[in-house]
Symmetry: C2
Subunit: 183 residues, 2 copies
DNA sequence: TATGTTGTGGAACATCTTGTTCAGTTATTA
DNA sequence: TAATAACTGAACAAGATGTTCCACAACATA
């Protein structure tokens, strides 16, 4: 990809992320985005058909990155989900969030958190579906697989929400424990 | 309230509900609403400051009604939440939803379901907070009250979501059982 | 270095949406 | 019947959207 293209694209995405962490997505105008990104109007529309497409691509890029990290080397897939392991994916994700090395924490704290949590949940479901046998077997046997996967993903996402609403006072380890008790 | 005022207000709310069940809230214009409601533009703005206020009032009206119904006469408050009772509030709510005697089902099936589920959850939390001792005591003892209330409300709301996504194939009784197993 | 291609910036534009205003009409109330 | 309140319809300014055009800068290739 042309360097100019890459620069414009990233400037737009960056500006959009900043705006998303400040105000509701509906109140963000294209004019604001291009002003902050310091990019021409025509350039914006050369990259993104509409604001909705911009959002969609942002979500994909952001969560693609997260899920890559959560399953990255050093952690063995099978290992990741074991509930008593110090390094379950879930704790890993809480830690990742706390460090805020991606910009996602700001977005989850914003008015738009719904948007990101929803998307995040969908990604999670895929991860969980492969590893479901590592969770509470009694529950699993009484519930449709589909329901149970949805349940686990929901509880995780809602735990994140609660954690953030509570100003992230708990450590990743503590909140992970709560998650495993609740789920 | 003047009959004319009441008629206009209800025509607007009705039109808005219909549109909400068809398309995303962001794509609904005031012009569409007033056309469908058959009401003048000035009338709309005499009733609602902006579209956002309209949405807010709609949510309040809708859920106020639901929570009234869910705690209505014939059901004793203490009784409502007992998990093995045939008439727990939760089953009651599932039944209510299935009958669709309020328009809420269409809204929960629409693109805007997030909106309504979120609002619903907040209302639920207040209900649950008073009755928390009726749930799994072991979990309750290990978790902050606040976390546990949020957890129950979340699981209920996400169970509704799953049920609806699954075309409501299960009976209210069955889905209520799943809910109690999961929570 | 010269050449053709591609992306960018900026302005101008038509179109749509919003929220306000106003004058004329209809319904309610006393 | 008279006064009051709400409604209609149209017109309006302000702002947002998405497109088009052109001059210019950055890139790739020879």
């Amino acid at each position: 990809m042309d360097r100019r293209q890459r620069k414009s694209r990233e400037a737009i995405l960056k500006a959009f992320i900043e705006l998303l962490s400040q105000k509701n997505v509906n109140q963000i105008t294209v004019s604001e985005i291009i002003e902050r990104a310091d990019v021409g109007r025509a350039t914006f529309y050369a990259h993104f058909e509409t604001k909705d497409f911009l959002l969609k691509e942002l979500l994909e890029e952001l969560f693609c990155h997260i899920f890559d990290v959560s399953t990255e080397s050093g952690h063995d897939h099978k290992h990741l989900f074991s509930c008593d392991s110090d390094s379950s994916v879930f704790q890993h994700l809480f830690e990742h969030l706390q460090k805020n090395d991606n910009q996602i924490l700001a977005l989850l704290k914003s008015d738009n958190n719904e948007l990101f949590l929803r998307y995040f949940k969908e990604g999670l479901k895929e991860l969980i579906a492969d590893q479901i046998e590592l969770f509470n077997k009694e529950k699993a046997s009484k519930l449709p697989r589909d329901f149970f996967v949805n349940h686990i993903a929901s509880v995780f996402v809602e735990t994140i929400r609660w954690w953030i609403d509570d100003k992230m006072r708990l450590t990743p380890q503590e909140i992970t424990e709560y998650f495993y008790i609740a789920v």
